[in-house]
Symmetry: C2
Subunit: 153 residues, 2 copies
């Protein structure tokens, strides 16, 4: 059974490796975990409405290495009786394992987790240039209904 679970401090090098992995695999052992990253992880870990989730390799003997991750923020709202929405960010699959269905598994498990929590909606944004990602999210049932705006401060 593939495991999507909240990251622990011990997963931090693997998560940072995935976040810096653009085209090729970054070895978690090569990642320098600075105090700033420690603090950032602690902030997320202590917040009941934020979590970094990691996917262990479903093909490995348990516990497998981390091959995917994402961050979810559960947002309380005033609409619909105060139900939460889940915002997904920083979706990553290890470079050497892309195109193998792991991204789909990662997202499906995250959506199931949000549903089990009672969320009414899962939302995310994707860079307009990433048309392959857009087809991927559409295939998962997401509607590309909004434009996403960003203002750097």
């Amino acid at each position: 059974m593939p495991a999507l679970r909240p990251a622990t401090r011990a997963d931090l090098p693997a998560v940072l490796a995935l976040l810096s992995d653009e085209e090729r695999v970054v070895d978690p052992a090569s990642v320098v975990v600075t105090a700033a990253y420690e603090d950032a992880f602690a902030s997320i870990d202590e917040d009941p409405r934020n979590e970094v989730l990691v996917l262990e390799d479903p093909e490995a003997d348990a516990p497998g290495p981390v091959v995917g991750c994402l961050q979810v923020t559960y947002i309380p709202g005033l609409g619909k009786g105060g139900v939460e929405r889940a915002l997904v960010e920083a979706v990553r699959v290890r470079a050497d394992r892309r195109g193998s269905g792991l991204g789909r598994l990662l997202m499906e498990l995250a959506v199931a987790r949000a549903r089990a929590r009672g969320c009414a909606l899962v939302q995310l944004t994707s860079d307009k240039r990433r048309t392959e990602a857009h087809r991927f999210y559409a295939s998962l049932g997401f509607a590309r209904s909004h434009d996403g705006f960003k203002l750097a401060l």
Copy 2:
């Protein structure tokens, strides 16, 4: 000086009126504040990374009635040394006061508040059909760089 401030429980009828105000003004006195809304507001109010902000009428003698509101979620991340991003949702200006610059004031004050908190980014999504809103956000300096995806659960 126009005041953008966190909503208190006493503002809840005015905020709910704004959220249900599509084409015409809803009288806050006509709003039924259910226990579900009370609970939802308390959830937001108790969360240090969520706030409903209200704009008091800058033309009224202080304290003026609430003429605008929005919700902000401050999202901690692992990137950039753990800096937060501000997600803005549920932006509303009272129906009879639209087109008067209040929306701009509301957003500018919210952006200034996020900057003062140390956020690296302000982000939001807007329905693709709302082209006037898109021009408005672009005029505030926001880049329409992403597509927004939603999956109802």
